[in-house]
Symmetry: C2
Subunit: 416 residues, 2 copies
C-alpha cells in the first residue's frame, strides 16, 4: 500500500520556499499509487513533534498551484533546532512515532543547514528503530550557505531584489546629489556571509559608485571613509551596501553601538544608521538610509525566474528521488555553464551536507575588500535571471492562504 | 518662429516623474512647428538660474521613450526654493533673462507645492517684464498633497509598493510567529500627511492585522500598546505601519529619542526601531523592522500602471494646454468614478494651487485612529491599479541614463 509523506518548512522563510512545497505536492499527487497523502507540519517540525499535521489533500489543485507564486511558508515554519541525538533521543523517537502512527514513509524537509542535519539523523534513527523512513532534504536558504549545491533557492530572489532596489535608489540619489542627499546606505541580511551584500555590487555595471561592507572583511573606518570620500568626489554621490553582520576587528557588530534612549535603556538599531551617521560626522555628506529586513526575503513580486524554477524543480526532484528509492540525500543545483546559463539537478548525500557551511570564496571579493570581482558577477547574474510575476487583482498580488485543515491526532500529547 | 521650451524637475524625485518628462518631450517633438527645442534644467531650477541647460534635442527618440519606465529625475532635481518675489526679485529676473537669452516661451515645471508657487510667480513676473512666458505646472509628489487634482503622480506607485511590501512581509511574519517574530514594523515616508501610511492599511483586506501610526494622530502609547497586544493575541502576529512623521502630543517626533552612541554623540534613528523596541519592552514580543526610505519612491519595478499613465498624460496635457494658449495653470487628474476607475484631465489655475496643501480627509482615518476607512480604500485602490513593468536584461531593469549635453551659455555667471 502507498505510504504517506510528511513535508515541513524550516527556519526563515523565503519568496520561493512555497514553490518547493508546490513541487513536492504536485509531484506526489501525480504518483498517488506510491504516495498516499502529503501531510505538512504546522509551523515546521514542531507540527511533527506535537502531531499537529495539516492534510494537504484537502487543498484544491488551484491553491497548491498558487503556492508557486506565494511568498512565505504556507504551512508555517519555525526556528526550532532538534538537539543532538545523544542529548535528546526522545525528540527523534517522537518523530518516528508520529510517522509510524500516520503511516509516513517519506520525510521531505525544506530548509538550511540545521534541517539537513535533522533530516540526516531521522534517516539513520528510523532505520535503527525498524521503521525506515526515506528522508530527503530540499534546500532553502537566502544565506546561500549550503555545500555542494551551486546555490540555494531563496537566494536568487533576494539577490535580484537587492540589486534592483539598490539601482533604483542610486538613480534617485544621483538626481538629488547636487543640493541634497549624496550618500545612500542600504542594509541587507547576512550575519556571517556576504552573499546578499555581494548582489548589491552588481549596480557597478550600471555606472553607480558602490562601496560594500562585507561580514567577511573587518571594518576599517579610516579606509572606508577614504573610499567613500573618493567615490563621492568623483561621482557626486555614493551608494553603500552594508551587511547586517559587518563588525569591528574585535568582533563587535557595528549595529551594537551601546546606544541608550532617554530613559537609559539599551537601544537596538541597524548597521545602516550607524554607518550613515559615521559618514556624516567624518565627511559631512547628507545621507539617507534604508533597512530592507523582511522586505528582501519576502519580495515575491520581484522574484528571479531561475530561482522560482529551481525551487520548484528541487521539490519535484526530491519526490522523484524518493520514488526511485533514494534516502538521506539532498537534490542539488549543478551549474553546467554560466553564459548561457545551464543547470541540471544533481544529488548530494546528507552525510556530506549536514553541518558544512559554504562561505563566499575569497576570490569573489575585490582586493580592497569593498567590492566584488568579475568571477562573482559571473556567478551571480544567472541567479537573478528572468522575472516571474505573480498574478494581480485590484492592484495587489494574489497570494494564497491555504485552509490548512488538521489531521486527527492518534497519539498522546508531547511536551516540547 | 517657434519658441523653445524649458522643463525642470523639482524636489524629491519619484518612480514616475520621468514619465511626465517623457510626455512633455514627446508631445513637444510632435509640434515642432510651434515648439523648437526642449531645454531641461540640469538639477532642476538651479540649471535655469546658472544657465546650465541640457539640450534634450540631442537625445534619441528611443532614450526619451525609455524615460517612461526609468525612475528618478533624468535631468537631475534639486531642493531649492526660490525666495518670495519681494525678498529676492533678482532670482526671478534671472530666470526671465535666461529664458529670453534662449528664446524660451514655455516653462514646464514638474514638482510639488513649492514649484507650483514658483511657476505662478514666473508667469506673473514675465508678463510684467515684457517677456511673457507660458508657465505650466506639472504635478508630482509622493506626498499627494496638491489641491484640486484628485491625486499626484508618484503617489500611486509608492502606495502600491508599500501595500505590496507590507503584505509580503506580513505573510513572512505570519509563517514565523509561532516560535519567532510576532511583530513587524514598517516605516514609511510622510512627515505631515499619512497618505503613504494609509496605503499600508490595504493589507487588512487580505486578513492581515495591521495598526497604522499616522502623523495626523497624536501618539498615545497606552492605547497603541493595547491595540497591538489585542491584535497579536487574536492573530498570533501583527504588522505596524509607522509614518516617519508620527509624534508625541508635544510635537516631538518618535524618531527623536535623544539617543546617544558610546561616544555621547546624538544618534539619528528611524521611527520604526523606536516603536519596535517600545513594543518589546511593553509587551515582550519579538520583532523585526524595516525602513523603506528611498526604496519606496524609487521602486519603478513595481510602479502602478494608472500612476505611470497619469504621469505621462499630465506631461502631454501640459504641452497641449500651452499650445492652446493657456498660462499659469496645472493639468489635473479629475476622477469620474472609482469602480470602474475612470478619470480625465482637467485644469487648475496656479493661483489656486500655489501654497495650498491638501491634507488627508478625517473621514479616511478610522475612529480609533489606527486604521483606514472604506472610503479611503475606495480612493486608494484605483491609484495602485495595474502593473507597468520595465524591460529587463541580464536580470536587471533597463533604465536609461541620458547624455545630458549642455547648451552653450550666453550670459554672465550668476551667483546662487
Amino acid at each position: 500500500m502507498a505510504k504517506n509523506a510528511f513535508y515541513a518548512q524550516s527556519g526563515g522563510v523565503t519568496a520561493v520556499i512555497n514553490a518547493s512545497a508546490c513541487g513536492v505536492i504536485e509531484t506526489a499527487r501525480k504518483h498517488s499509487d506510491q504516495i498516499g497523502t502529503v501531510y505538512a507540519g504546522r509551523n515546521g517540525i514542531i507540527g511533527a513533534l506535537t502531531e499537529d499535521l495539516i492534510d494537504t489533500g484537502k487543498e484544491s489543485a488551484e491553491n497548491i498551484a498558487a503556492l508557486r507564486h506565494t511568498p512565505s511558508g504556507g504551512f508555517g515554519s519555525c526556528r526550532f533546532k532538534l538537539k543532538s541525538l545523544e542529548d535528546n533521543q526522545r525528540e527523534y523517537e517522537r518523530l518516528i512515532d508520529v510517522f509510524k502512527a500516520h503511516d509516513i514513509g517519506y520525510f521531505f524537509y525544506n530548509g538550511g543547514g540545521d534541517s539537513a542535519d535533522t533530516c540526516y539523523k531521522v534517516s539513520q534513527l528510523s532505520e535503527k528503530m525498524g521503521f525506515p523512513v526515506q528522508a530527503i532534504h530540499i534546500p532553502k536558504t537566502v544565506d546561500n550557505d549550503l555545500p555542494i549545491t551551486d546555490n540555494c533557492p531563496g537566494f536568487g530572489s533576494v539577490a535580484k531584489y537587492i540589486a534592483v532596489s539598490a539601482l533604483e535608489a542610486s538613480f534617485d540619489v544621483r538626481s538629488m546629489a547636487k543640493t541634497s542627499t549624496k550618500i545612500f546606505v542600504l542594509e541587507v541580511m547576512g550575519r556571517h556571509a556576504g552573499w546578499i551584500a555581494a548582489a548589491g555590487g552588481l549596480i557597478e555595471d550600471h555606472d553607480i559608485p558602490v562601496v560594500i561592507l562585507f561580514p567577511e572583511v573587518e571594518f576599517d573606518k579610516d579606509r572606508f571613509m577614504a573610499e567613500v570620500d573618493a567615490k563621492t568626489k568623483q561621482y557626486g554621490f555614493c551608494t553603500i551596501i552594508v551587511s547586517e553582520g559587518v563588525h569591528w576587528p574585535d568582533g563587535r557588530f557595528l549595529a551594537e553601538q551601546g546606544t541608550r534612549d532617554s530613559f537609559g535603556h539599551a537601544q537596538l538599531g541597524g548597521a545602516a544608521p550607524v554607518v550613515a551617521n559615521m559618514i556624516k560626522e567624518a565627511l559631512g555628506y547628507k545621507f539617507h538610509w534604508a533597512v530592507a529586513d523582511y522586505l528582501q526575503r519576502a519580495a515575491r513580486h520581484l522574484a528571479s525566474k531561475s530561482d522560482v524554477e529551481q525551487a520548484y524543480a528541487l521539490g519535484r526532484a526530491g519526490v522523484e528521488m524518493a520514488l526511485q528509492g533514494h534516502n538521506s540525500i539532498m537534490p542539488t543545483v549543478d551549474r553546467l555553464s554560466s553564459s548561457p546559463y545551464k543547470w541540471e539537478i544533481g544529488k548530494a548525500p546528507l552525510s556530506e551536507v549536514a553541518n558544512v557551511e559554504k562561505m563566499m570564496p575569497a576570490e569573489y571579493i575585490s582586493d580592497d575588500g569593498f567590492g566584488i570581482t568579475e568571477a562573482c558577477k559571473e556567478y551571480l547574474y544567472p541567479l537573478i535571471e528572468g522575472e516571474d510575476y505573480p498574478p494581480y487583482e485590484n492592484g495587489m498580488p494574489v497570494y494564497v492562504t491555504l485552509k490548512n485543515e488538521s489531521v486527527a491526532k492518534k497519539l498522546p500529547d508531547f511536551e516540547l
